[in-house]
């Protein structure tokens, strides 16, 4: 039976996935897939913690490595006879050149272009006339997919084929954190299901009986005000429902703060907060900052976010952010356990806007520092 767990940031997806994998009766017939190397490392460690001491282990693989090794490589001869597949190319396809045939998917050396690997995989499945899926069915009882919101374009079609196979597919995703894409240049589904809207596709699959969706809205990471802020950022057009925090405030410096960008240095020193920014940190005179998107998966007590122009505008006027910015901002905010400081150009204006209880901010309590 296939299922998808749609969980808020901080629910504990990795933990839950590791527990489920550890319960599998035949771990050697279990595959865990995720897009980024960071997640592969994290999943491997977490699963190993749960299963230490046993001899048989599930294998954790990158989504693209899986496509290459288990589908494209075995059946490429049926699709493009005589072409030797080497690996994954570091540079992506240049669609402006309008490459055709195999050249659309593979470099001259036989390396697959990352963005179109999903389509190549799908074509390989089709030209094998079902053999590729049969092969997978013989190899695996269940496939777990972590951070599935990263799967985009034709990778989603490949996922659909897996859902239709006899393999049990267990998907973990948070569409609100759709900041990465496995298929940057692939136009498939891009318009209809951008970023968090990918949930609509999963709901269609649920409608067709391909999987069951479960929503997990409890955060074990962030205190209530932070959860509330994250909900406002996402909005409720997609019907994810409100996040519920079960974290007790620690009793000092909890909640949401507004500071001026000029006070960044002082704030970081005073509260030991982790700086999340889109630009290089040197600009703010701090040596250690992290990109919003790269912060995915990590947890910090205190976080300070250097807001971008559009974010500050959103904070002051409620003007909608681009879908991708919504996701990045959501990721950044949900890293924090106890406090989130928003560094802005004009702290007073932002503060006035948020304090206005008639705005989208409702009763969100914030403090203006310095």
């Amino acid at each position: 039976m296939n299922d998808a767990v749609v969980a808020v940031a901080g629910w504990g997806k990795t933990e839950e996935l590791a527990n489920a994998v550890a319960r599998e009766p035949n771990p050697e017939r279990v595959l865990v897939l995720t897009y980024t190397e960071t997640n592969q490392r994290e999943d491997t460690l977490r699963i190993f913690q749960k299963t230490a001491g046993t001899k048989r282990h599930a294998s954790v693989m990158g989504w693209k490595a899986f496509q290459l090794r288990d589908i494209v490589r075995p059946y490429l001869p049926l699709l493009y006879p005589g072409i030797r597949l080497r690996g994954l190319s570091n540079r992506d396809v240049d669609l402006d050149q309008r490459p055709g045939g195999a050249a659309r998917y593979l470099t001259r050396d036989g390396d697959a272009y990352p963005s179109l690997l999903g389509k190549l995989t799908l074509d390989a499945i089709d030209s094998s006339k079902g053999a590729a899926i049969r092969r997978l069915e013989r190899l695996y009882d269940s496939i777990y997919i972590d951070e599935a919101q990263d799967l985009r374009g034709n990778d989603l079609c490949v996922l659909e084929r897996l859902l239709k196979s006899s393999i049990d597919v267990h998907i973990f995703l948070d569409p609100r954190q759709s900041t990465l894409s496995t298929a940057e240049k692939d136009r498939k589904y891009k318009k209809n299901y951008p970023n968090a809207e990918v949930i609509k596709l999963y709901r269609e699959w649920e409608g067709k009986g391909l999987l069951d969706i479960r929503y997990e809205n409890e955060t074990h990471r962030s205190i209530a005000p932070i959860a509330a802020l994250s909900d406002i950022i996402v909005g409720d057009e997609l019907g994810f429902g409100p996040t519920v925090s079960i974290v007790e405030p620690r009793g000092r410096h909890d909640g949401i703060y507004i500071i001026a960008k000029s006070d960044l240095n002082r704030y970081v020193n005073e509260y030991g907060a982790t700086l999340l920014a889109l630009q290089k940190s040197e600009k703010y005179g701090i040596s250690d900052s992290m990109n919003f998107r790269k912060s995915k998966g990590m947890t910090r007590d205190d976080v300070v976010i250097v807001t971008t122009g559009p974010i500050e505008k959103f904070l002051t006027t409620g003007a909608a952010l681009k879908p991708v910015s919504v996701c990045s901002f959501y990721v950044a905010v949900t890293r924090a356990r106890y406090s989130v400081a928003l560094a802005v150009e004009n702290p007073e204006r932002v503060f006035r806007s948020i304090a206005d209880t008639s705005s989208i901010w409702g009763n969100l309590s914030i403090q203006l520092l310095y």
Partner: protein
């Protein structure tokens, strides 16, 4: 199990395809027909090694097919395009099996299978070394030979049908070769002993053994070796001590013994049987077992034991390949497992042998079924008399004995039908069966074997009017030369009185005299017509001879 084996360019196997069956496969053929090369090919492709040595390092120039190598050196002067650089390729395709899903795919180098589990190994010159390789070959050619390929330019690559190169044997594929040659140490037995020791001794015991070994080493070092200095010509003196490297680890010093005799000191028969039993014990049940000429180094009764062990081990999952020259092994293991090969050609597998006939030869395992399997042309006769008379008749008609023209005369009692069935199952052509009519019409006897007869396999019997057995037939054929016949077949005198009775009572004897008699005398006699017909069938006379 291996469903198809393809070998090209490997020794005598120039272009070889074989579909072995599940369970047991018995490979027979003349010497140098390529039987062991088939086993070598299976070992190489499934293990990536041969006789314990890695495939890469094992390559030797004589592995390449000689015809291909010679042709290559001949073409060297010509244009580079289309040059056939000698290569070796061995492909094993397995039957569909979920346990082999990982090695399943469409990467069959010959593009024959679109979705099958398989492995292949190739030896070829890497493209970037090709110019130097050709240069080197040209200089060999200019020097006038010997035409030996410089193998150091060759790359060995081992792949699965999924497409990945592999360095280790894939899960689910295993192959064990049982050597019947007596040898000082068998790797399989050593490994088995080691793992047995590992399981039998608990950690404390192991520490104790290791500790005692160390004590003995230390004692020998201290008490004996310490007193010896090794002069090292001006570079300072060296001392002696016992080697403590893993090579001399105590687990390597433990061997199997029977009544105090280590296995390697036992007779080769016991060695072979133990090795075979150990390999079967160890091998995964889905493994491939290779066994070369088990009859060598084994006496009859041991062989009987071994054959029993092999027959029991064959199963749906375990594929066994046996080469043999022994009809006993062949009959006991079951003729239905037979594949016949000749000169590197793809073997012919037996098909459609009735269970009844398989059982018949299993029980009467003395029959020389191998001869019929290997013969180019064969004549089946009842007994020694018939064989001797046929030899005589053939020599008279063709000037040579049958075996000199590659015709095997096989005595088979009255089992013509069984052997004809075997010949038919092997699609043998050129088989003549001769038998006494025993008072019945020849058509009756031919009718019994009819389903196994063809234009290339025929039955020959004398007519009842000319006599029931070969003696009256011979007398009838020489009605007008009875004196000559009598003088040849009788020890003394040439009385034609009761000649037929005498011959019948002295069966082999008269026939031997006929064959050994002076040819100028014996060839005056006439050949019974059914024998002559058989000769003309098995060895059609050239037209010129016909006209004489």
């Amino acid at each position: 199990m291996i469903r198809e084996l393809r070998v090209s360019g490997f020794r005598i196997l120039k272009d070889f395809v074989w579909e072995p069956k599940e369970g047991l496969n018995i490979l027979v053929g003349a010497n140098s027909a390529g039987k062991s090369t088939v086993l070598d090919a299976i070992e190489l492709v499934t293990r990536g090694s041969i006789r314990g040595q890695g495939a890469r390092r094992s390559l030797s120039p004589d592995w390449f097919n000689k015809d291909i190598v010679d042709a290559f050196f001949q073409e060297l002067g010509g244009p580079l395009e289309g040059m056939n650089v000698p290569e070796i390729k061995i492909v094993a395709v397995f039957s569909e099996d979920w346990r082999l899903a990982r090695i399943t795919g469409a990467n069959d180098p010959d593009k024959k299978f679109k979705d099958a589990p398989g492995i292949y190994i190739t030896y070829s010159v890497s493209p970037n070394l090709l110019p130097q390789f050709l240069e080197e070959c040209r200089s060999i050619e200019e020097a006038g030979g010997p035409f030996v390929l410089p193998t150091d330019y060759y790359d060995c690559s081992w792949h699965i049908f999924q497409g990945d190169p592999i360095v280790r044997r894939p899960n689910g594929v295993s192959c064990t070769r049982i050597d019947t040659m007596p040898e000082p140490r068998s790797r399989a037995v050593d490994a088995y002993t080691k793992s047995y020791v590992g399981e039998e001794l608990d950690d404390d015991k192991k520490f104790e053994v290791a500790s005692r070994f160390r004590q003995v080493y230390a004692q020998v070092d201290r008490d004996i070796l310490a007193g010896i200095t090794v002069n090292c010509s001006g570079r300072g003196d060296l001392g002696l001590q016992i080697d403590r490297s893993p090579r001399t680890d105590w687990t390597n010093s433990i061997v199997l013994h029977r009544d105090g005799l280590p296995l390697y000191a036992l007779g080769s028969a016991e060695q072979t049987l133990t090795k075979c039993a150990v390999s079967l014990e160890n091998a995964d049940s889905e493994s491939i077992l290779l066994l070369e000429e088990p009859e060598c180094h084994l006496s009859y009764s041991w062989l009987n034991d071994l054959v029993g062990v092999i027959a029991d081990a064959a199963s749906e999952d375990r594929q066994i390949f046996v080469t043999t020259h022994s009809p006993f092994v062949l009959n006991r293991l079951g003729l239905d497992s037979l594949s016949v090969m000749a000169e590197g050609n793809s073997p012919r597998r037996i098909s459609d042998l009735s269970d009844d006939t398989v059982r018949y030869f299993k029980r009467l395992s003395g029959y020389d079924t191998l001869r019929i399997a290997l013969a180019d042309r064969a004549v089946l006769v009842e007994g020694p008399t018939d064989e001797l008379v046929f030899d005589w008749a053939f020599r008279k008609a063709r000037g040579k004995l049958p075996h000199e023209k590659g015709i095997d005369v096989i005595e088979c009692g009255t089992s013509h039908k069984r052997l004809l069935e075997l010949a038919a199952a092997l699609e043998k052509s050129g088989i003549a069966a001769l038998r006494d009519n025993d008072g019945d019409d020849p058509d009756y006897w031919a009718g019994l074997a009819e389903s196994h007869l063809s234009k290339d396999r025929a039955f020959f019997c004398g007519t009842p009017e000319e006599g029931k057995t070969i003696e009256p037939q011979m007398v009838e054929a020489n009605r007008d030369k009875l004196k000559t016949l009598a003088s040849i077949v009788r020890k003394r005198g040439n009385s034609t009185d009761k000649l037929e009775e005498f011959m019948t009572n002295n069966k082999t004897e008269w026939a031997l005299r006929l064959l050994e008699a002076d040819m100028s005398e014996s060839e005056v006699l006439d050949i019974p017509s059914y024998i002559l017909n058989a000769i003309n069938f098995i060895d059609p006379a050239p037209e010129s001879a016909e006209n004489e």
